[in-house]
Symmetry: C2
Subunit: 232 residues, 2 copies
């Protein structure tokens, strides 16, 4: 019935997790030091360290030199979600992905966005507007600006068959970014999404940065019914 018992550091991890969940190590309690635990569990200190480090990263333990390791009083855990190509996202939902370019031009980036992204007024950008489809139905509307300073090749890239989303994932050396989800009325994207302008939809504003420079900013307006699923 039960899964095979892990060995090594996972066994230590699981045992520590058990003691936390059973309140054998209650919230706020100071747990034994690595050396003691290693002796008790019959393994090396490095093994205990690995296990406790994972639990600390998960937010269940707080570790500080000299002070020792404590069980977090009110665990503040991390929710995770995988960010991938939009086409892959659609496939994951069991649908056939489609793509249609609406416009690829030089529409200027809104000044407010330029400023937020840290793109100077002289930096050229390219604008791309497109629609992603799931089984032929509108899935998400994409409105994007790409910094030509960071990605000069984007000036001549062909976005009629490959979406800017995928093109950037393949060509941009991106290092970090921010995602900002909000609820809004469909507004201008409504006609593309086949819904009413006042229909509530999920909007994702996403900024992406390379090692040193801003690369792109995009607003994704999802069709009604979209829901963002995460695990913790």
């Amino acid at each position: 019935m039960s899964r095979a018992a892990p060995t090594g550091w996972q066994a230590v991890h699981d045992e520590a997790l058990r003691r936390i969940q059973t309140r054998e190590w209650p919230p706020g309690a100071l747990i034994p030091g690595e050396e003691d635990l290693a002796a008790e569990l019959g393994c090396a200190r490095a093994t205990v360290n690995r296990a406790l480090r994972e639990l600390a990263e998960a937010g269940l333990l707080e570790r500080r030199r000299k002070a020792g390791t404590r069980v977090t009083e009110v665990p503040s855990r991390r929710a995770q979600m995988s960010i991938s190509r939009i086409a892959e996202e659609i496939e994951t939902r069991g649908a056939r992905p489609g793509y249609a370019l609406i416009a690829a031009d030089d529409t200027p980036m809104p000044p407010a966005r330029r400023h937020a992204l840290g793109i100077g007024p002289d930096t050229p950008t390219r604008h791309v507007e497109a629609l992603h489809l799931a089984d032929g139905a509108p899935y998400v509307h994409e409105n994007r600006w790409i910094s030509l300073a960071a990605m000069p090749a984007a000036a001549s890239a062909d976005f009629t068959t490959m979406s800017a989303n995928e093109w950037l994932l393949r060509h941009a050396p991106f290092s970090h970014g921010t995602l900002d989800y909000s609820a809004a009325a469909a507004g201008e994207a409504a006609s593309h999404l086949g819904c009413d302008a006042q229909t509530p939809v999920m909007v994702l504003d996403r900024a992406t940065f390379g090692p040193e420079t801003p690369i792109t900013w995009v607003r994704l307006t999802y069709a009604p019914g979209f829901h963002l699923h995460m695990k913790i």
Copy 2:
């Protein structure tokens, strides 16, 4: 100008990251084995392993025994966000948290939710409805059911001053859960949030499980203007 150069495994991590970003190790390429890298960088194999493991967890590398380590073709990265007490979430936004209980009763859990959560029809639940405030203004409406099979103490808990959210974080041995964000019209929560019933708002459906049993299901309806921020 530049930050202090890390040493140890972080130095290896940063060096590998640099080679990936500069395309010195292009997407899809097989990178040197741990032993080779350790020799080249002048450290132990365990140090290289630690560094490459982090990069693999970040989705930038794919590692397989015997096959070696490759640079991910299209990196599918993870977005993270910290899940904490609602009061803490409000404080993080620079506001003073407030709380008001609306109802704590035995309103039955909707059958569809019972089924989705895996709670049998005979399992008793407690219902709690409340409003969280930020600087006195409505922040989020909470509509929750708690399984009394998993948390019998919830039957007699007082939710007038401490929210069910915080009470559960302190008392429930929760292990995992799911979060589901969507956009919807404010609907029934509109009166509590001080907005129109058709105003688009963010809705979070959250299921929480203990080591073996379902604990609670909650629908959080956020006030207009809420936005979910994540980093990648």
